[in-house]
């Protein structure tokens, strides 16, 4: 299908001068001047108490935490238990689980637009009380259906770690 309009760009034009009317009263009618300015920053971010999770991914281990006090087990780790406040210990999670729910993102934040369409899913693991957010690879995004819920999936790890949670992703078992 051919588009019947020219695509909009945000480049604009560099404008150095703008005329003013002689009558300053007319300035109330001046169209707003809109400028573009760039903003960029590098943060020095510490994963702090979450760090072992990312170190785990670099070693092909999916680490969660378990409360030493009440045994509540977190698929997405936290150093202290939400249920009882006790300190948690690091534990290996099963690397196989099921899709608890999912979506296919056809759009996204600017940072991820170029990766669309991608499948986001929450994974549940046997014996684990909470879920884990991840991408699922190896399913046809166009074929999304509620039947995907409950599908058995397993973890895969990037060989070259980026120390981001996307160092792990899940694929259907059997692929």
């Amino acid at each position: 299908m051919s588009e019947s309009r020219v695509p909009e760009e945000e480049e604009g034009t560099v404008l150095f001068r703008v005329p003013l009317p002689k009558d300053l009263g007319a300035l109330r009618e001046l169209a707003p001047l809109i400028i573009k300015h760039h903003y960029e920053i590098d943060y020095i971010h510490s994963y702090a108490q979450d760090s072992p999770f990312f170190a785990g991914l670099a070693n092909k281990r999916l680490l969660g935490t378990r409360c030493g006090n009440c045994n509540y087990t977190y698929a997405t780790p936290r150093a202290h238990c939400m249920e009882c406040g006790g300190p948690c210990d690091w534990v290996d999670l099963p690397q196989e689980g099921q899709i608890h729910t999912f979506t296919v993102c056809y759009y996204g934040s600017e940072a991820f637009l170029k990766e669309t369409p991608f499948i986001l899913a929450l994974i549940e693991f046997p014996g684990v009380d909470t879920l884990f957010l991840t991408r699922v690879v190896g399913l046809d995004p166009q074929a999304s259906s509620l039947d995907w819920i409950g599908m058995a999936v397993k973890a895969k790890f990037r060989r070259l770690s980026t120390f981001r949670p996307t160092d792990v992703y899940f694929v259907p078992i059997g692929t």
């Binding site: 945000e10 169209a31 707003p32 809109i34 903003y39 994963y47 979450d50 977190y74 698929a75 997405t76 936290r78 939400m82 249920e83 608890h100 729910t101 999912f102 979506t103 296919v104 993102c105 056809y106 759009y107 996204g108 934040s109 600017e110 940072a111 991820f112 637009l113 990766e115 991608f118 986001l120 899913a121 929450l122 009380d129 909470t130 879920l131 884990f132 957010l133 991840t134 991408r135 999304s144 509620l146 819920i149 981001r164 949670p165 996307t166």
Partner: protein
Amino acid sequence: MRPVYAVSGGVSKFARARPELDFRGMVKEAYDYALTDLHLTPQRAREIVDGTICSYFSDHFTRQLKAGSMVQDYLGLCPKPGKRIEGGGATGGLAVQSGWEAVASGRFDICVVYGFETMSRVNTWKGNEFIALASDTNFDYPVGGFYSGYYAMMVVRHMKEFGTTVDQMALVSVKNHRNALHNPYAQKRRQITIEDVRRAEMVAWPLTMLDICVMSDGAAALILCSEDGLNTLHKATGHTPLPAKITGVGGGLDAMRMADRPHGEVILLPHEKPEDYRGLNYPGVHSFRAGRTAAKAAYQMAGITNPLEELDFIELHDAYTSSEIQTYEDMGLCRYGEGGKFVESGTPFMPAVDYGYHFPEQGRIPINPSGGLIACGHPVGATGIMQGVFALWQLQGSIHTHFGSDVLQVKNARRGAIHSHAGTGTYVVISILEKGE
């Protein structure tokens, strides 16, 4: 605690972009409207307003820290006290409750709650990124941070658990866009069909462009008073204000990461029984525990035991058609799992508006008579305050004055609720307003 009344409000038109006014100018527009409605001049207001609450969500959109103090000086309200409130999508509703606290405690007799957002300052996809920064930036944001994706996952589980359908969700969009045809403040005013919603571009399966609210520039202001404040206003203007009393406030929070939500027992409202929910794991990701917690507290304070029977309308936070359906359930208008059937029955539609569909129980309790976020737009810091303004106008019976038509006036509205909700149900607040005696 002292009784607190809402007496006046204003909304600065919500639009895709308002380049002709910055956040100060938009709040000024809303504030001046609220003053005019009270027959109060800005000079006199300067003397009798005790303090303010400022509401805006994102320092990324604003890129002007302490924007609240700039609004305060622009309104001519310096050196009076004020503070900024932030709580994601619920920022506006939280600000209204903060204003309530300031008046109920005796600190202020007249409090102005104002809020805004200027989301047009970046492109839509950068805006989505800013919003997604309101998810865990270690574990959630980097995986594909996108709020529509998060809500899509929540409703997919709701569909699986309860059989909710995309057509039921589309009906929410039909209702809210159609209602907005009669609301001049709304950003998107259209008559659409279920098919239009389903044919719209897919954003995050199964949510399409017409299942999702848009980004907006806009502002709103709401003036709250004690009984002494009402007398002061009367003396200052010679007019008796038409107040609505805030009779209930409730709030709740939930874990930032959806992945961390527990799978336990339903928190019951007074009209529900444990056997209603045998075998249901709650809230999981299909329901909003914070919303239920907020409802329970607000109803208890207002003496409501059956919300469907005892509320005349609700302005609720429909950032997504799906979350409107989920919120019917959290607020106890129907049982968990029945939200889809609830909209299909016509219960939340306006009784006398023609939506192009036949409903067996049309208009029993109008939900989002204004058009909600889906049609009005969602300039985050203004949204919850806008709901307060629209609820006040409903209870005053003044919709005709402000909207230029009576179509959206809920007849004999005596008690209404406003509901404000932040990302995936992390913060939810509900306030109950009642027609003043």
